[in-house]
Amino acid sequence: MRILLVDDSKTMRTIQKRVLEGLGAGTEFFEAADGFEALSVIASLPNGYDLAMIDWNMPNMDGLTLVARIREKNKATPLIMCTTEAEKERVVAALKAGVNNYVVKPFDAKTLLEKVQATLAKAKAA
């Protein structure tokens, strides 16, 4: 399992990594602090990745723009927006841009892990 974590907070990336280690041994993590860095990391992964967790508010390129850029070329890989932005309009905008699921911070570890597992299972079944 190859997971891309995109968040400008190193702390948040570490929290997500600790939780998502629950996906099983052998889970690999790749990290980026903004949208531009994420696109660069994606370009460096010839075998792709299985899922990306994407923050909304980041410097240089925000998460919504990143989702749109990813979806220009890749419709299949599941993307989860993980953000403090909880307003309904934001959720709708993220879903329209192409995210598969939406997690509002703060989250508890169990909820995050379950949402990621459900998103992966749905993508696999599609």
Partner: protein
């Protein structure tokens, strides 16, 4: 001071610390202080703009800052280091984001939180300050709220 602008930050602080770090703060009795309170070694502050202006600051002793950092990042952290500052910034960011959902509509905007080892570099708090003591085990941290109508602040 408008309690509807204060309560969302108190509730969000409890929610973030409980959900993310399994620390469940107990809220004490608020006091109104005519001077900016004594300093904690670590502050995270959110600036309020709009019809109401001022700051909501969270002052943490080293013990709680280290406990929070340990809970978020793992390990047994004791020092206020770069990891701790980053962790406290993310905690404040989540508090601000969560509080924003429950603030009265249109009354104010909130800034990206700033973290400082002392009050330098933070937006200045102006008395009077509502100090809300919060307790995690034997240790106390404070939520310090200094808000005024923008019209009053502009005339000062």
């Amino acid at each position: 001071m408008n309690v509807n602008l204060i309560n969302p930050f108190v509730a969000s602080c409890c929610e973030v610390l409980t959900t993310m770090a399994k620390l469940s703060p107990r809220i004490g009795r608020p006091t109104l202080q005519e001077r900016v309170p004594r300093g904690y070694p670590l502050y995270a502050a959110i600036e309020i703009t709009g019809a109401t202006v001022g700051t909501v600051a969270f002052g943490f002793p080293a013990e709680i800052a280290a406990a929070l950092t340990s809970a978020l990042l793992g390990g047994d952290r004791r020092a206020i280091d770069a990891d701790c500052l980053d962790a406290m910034g993310e905690v404040a960011n989540m508090i601000a984001g969560s509080a924003k959902q429950n603030l009265p509509g249109g009354l104010c905007g909130i800034s990206t939180p700033r973290v400082s080892l002392d009050r330098r570099g933070l937006p200045p708090a102006r008395p009077p300050v509502v100090v809300i003591p919060c307790f995690c085990g034997d240790h106390q941290f404070d939520i310090e709220v200094s808000l005024r109508p923008a019209t009053v602040a502009a005339a000062a």
